[in-house]
């Protein structure tokens, strides 16, 4: 078995610790991660797949293949796209049960709550909820 959810979250925490809480370096790094996010097929960017934030949009789609969920996502803002890519790195290729059980603790640890927490702005909180809902829905199929 490859890396667990915990392994990847710990890896991300390690990566961000090198940025030394410097906000500009952090944002820059998040944007670079966004640039590496596999492109989402335009046909999947439907109204139905929008997870809407106040200021930025996120598209999220999921498919179940052989008991494994594959997520595709994108955002219309560079920073949110980077954050989306972090989530995708953690959740893609997992079983529905693993998704249901996920605790996204890395967000607290790398000081990203301000990107997600109380601000209604970027739809990332809604995206995490939607990921879990996909997990729950698919868990009834496997």
């Amino acid at each position: 078995m490859s890396s667990t959810v915990k392994d990847i979250q710990d890896e991300i925490i390690e990566e961000f610790s090198m940025l030394d809480s410097d906000m500009e370096m952090t944002i820059s790094y998040i944007m670079e991660l966004g640039e590496q996010l596999p492109e989402m097929d335009e046909s999947l960017k439907t109204e139905q797949n929008i997870v809407k934030g106040c200021q930025s949009k996120v598209w999220l789609n999921a498919t179940l293949n052989d008991g494994i969920i594959d997520f595709q996502a994108d955002s219309n803002t560079a920073i949110t796209k980077g954050l989306v890519s972090l989530l995708i790195r953690i959740v893609s290729g997992r079983s529905p049960q693993e998704i249901v059980d996920i605790d996204f603790y890395f967000i607290d640890k790398i000081g990203l709550n301000r990107f997600i927490g109380t601000q209604r702005s970027n739809g990332l909180g809604a995206m995490m909820k939607q990921i879990k809902l996909y997990g729950l829905a698919f868990s009834t199929l496997v």
């Binding site: 906000m23 500009e24 944002i27 200021q55 930025s56 803002t77 702005s121 970027n122």
Partner: protein
């Protein structure tokens, strides 16, 4: 480096009154350009709050003990200071609310329920904040009235000829802002009030963005209602004012029931108190009202004309510097503006710009600024908005411009 002329603001002295400005955020000196959302509070406002709680705190109006007397006197003094500040005919025409939104809701609900009927029309402008749209939509729906919109031109100015076309004997209320929160446009409210009155309509002015920048004389304007918020004029949050002409306020039913607003209560019948108390149910925001007086003193001491001249200088300089950048598109270029600049940058989402600005210590607002219909007019989702107060400086504008330039470079690399 540009300099500002034609004002008498001692900027070092002004800034010394705002302790919050002297700090670093994300390791950078704070540049606070989100003043249209709320501006910062001078030390004297903070001191007044502390002083009230340390020495005078008591509930007002009903108490017969010394602290109650002190609190009541201080509270009512603010009402008189506001009366003079906006040149209302009498202090009883000043009603304390939670903010501009509540002031507008009060009028829409109380006046609207009594005076709006099926087929009547309410006219707002395309520049309005949701706070001056939604309360009217709600009451129009309830009363079977129709909501109409004064259109604007590409610069973000109300098209006055269209106002004439919209006004008719069906028009019962015209509600618009004195200055736009999204674009900064100063609206010709005196002229529109005159037109509306000629058609037999009443007028409510949303003054949230005007009171700390522009002279406001409600009698000269002949406004029927004028609403504004303390926190956008160096005062405390959670407090607003509704000015209304006595003749109208007296005819309006209470907005909320409770203590303070009654004369006699029995289970069969309640008689209501006189204005302004009829509209101030429950214990008001005593400490904030008392501290608000200091904010108005702060504005009066500097002088509105000085403040306006100073902020105009910042606006002109910042606008010119933004125009140097090719990928910047200014949204709203009205001839008359308060210190608000909205813009977008080609190829960069406003959310990304706002986050980057914050990382560089510059606080700006991004998004639709609670004016979605206005954003639709310009076919955009939102803007970046920089807005100025009297404590901002040209050096801060320079920091803002270099931050913006370096962010644009980062995106183009």
């Amino acid at each position: 480096m540009a300099t500002l002329e034609k004002h008498k603001i001692d900027i070092d002295k002004v800034r010394a009154e705002f302790p919050i400005l002297d700090q670093k955020v994300n390791g950078k000196q704070l540049v606070y350009f989100d003043n249209a959302a709320t501006n910062q509070k001078p030390q004297r406002v903070i001191d007044a709050l502390v002083h009230h709680y340390q020495t005078d705190n008591a509930n007002i109006h009903r108490g017969i003990h010394t602290l109650a007397e002190r609190s009541t006197t201080a509270f009512e003094e603010t009402r008189k200071v506001i009366q003079v500040f906006i040149n209302a005919n009498e202090a009883e025409e000043i009603i304390f609310t939670k903010g501009t939104s509540e002031s507008i809701n009060l009028v829409a609900s109380s006046w609207g329920r009594k005076f709006l009927n099926t087929g009547d029309e309410v006219i707002i402008s395309a520049l309005e904040h949701h706070s001056n749209i939604v309360p009217w939509q709600m009451i129009c729906e309830e009363r079977g009235a129709v909501l109409k919109v004064m259109p604007i031109n590409e610069k973000g100015e109300i098209i006055l000829e269209k106002v004439d076309e919209l006004l008719s004997e069906k028009t019962k209320m015209v509600a618009l802002n004195h200055a736009s929160n999204s674009l900064g446009t100063i609206n010709p409210v005196k002229e529109i009030i005159k037109k509306a009155h000629a058609a037999g309509a009443k007028v409510l002015i949303d003054g949230a963005q005007a009171t700390s920048h522009l002279p406001v004389d409600v009698q000269d304007l002949d406004a029927d209602f004028y609403a504004f918020s303390a926190h956008k004029m160096y005062g405390p949050t959670g407090l607003g004012v509704l000015y209304g002409k006595r003749i109208l306020l007296e005819k309006m039913p209470p907005y909320q029931g409770g203590g303070e607003m009654i004369k006699e209560v029995s289970f069969e019948k309640t008689t209501y108190n006189d204005i302004p108390y009829k509209f101030e149910a429950g214990t008001p925001d005593i400490a904030n009202v008392i501290a608000f007086k200091e904010a108005i003193h702060f504005i009066n001491e500097l002088g509105k004309a000085n403040i306006a001249a100073y902020e105009d200088g910042l606006l002109t300089y910042a606008t010119a510097r933004l125009k140097e950048i090719d990928s910047v598109r200014l949204i709203g270029e009205a001839a008359n503006k308060v210190g608000v600049i909205s813009f977008e940058v080609e190829g960069i989402h406003h959310f990304d710009l706002g986050m980057w600005m914050d990382a560089k210590g510059v606080a700006v607002r991004t998004g639709h600024h609670c004016t979605q219909p206005l954003m639709d007019f310009y076919c955009i989702e939102g803007t970046v908005r920089a807005s100025f107060s009297v404590y901002n400086t040209l050096e801060e504008v320079d920091i803002f411009i270099s931050a913006l330039k370096s962010i644009i470079e980062r995106f183009n690399k």
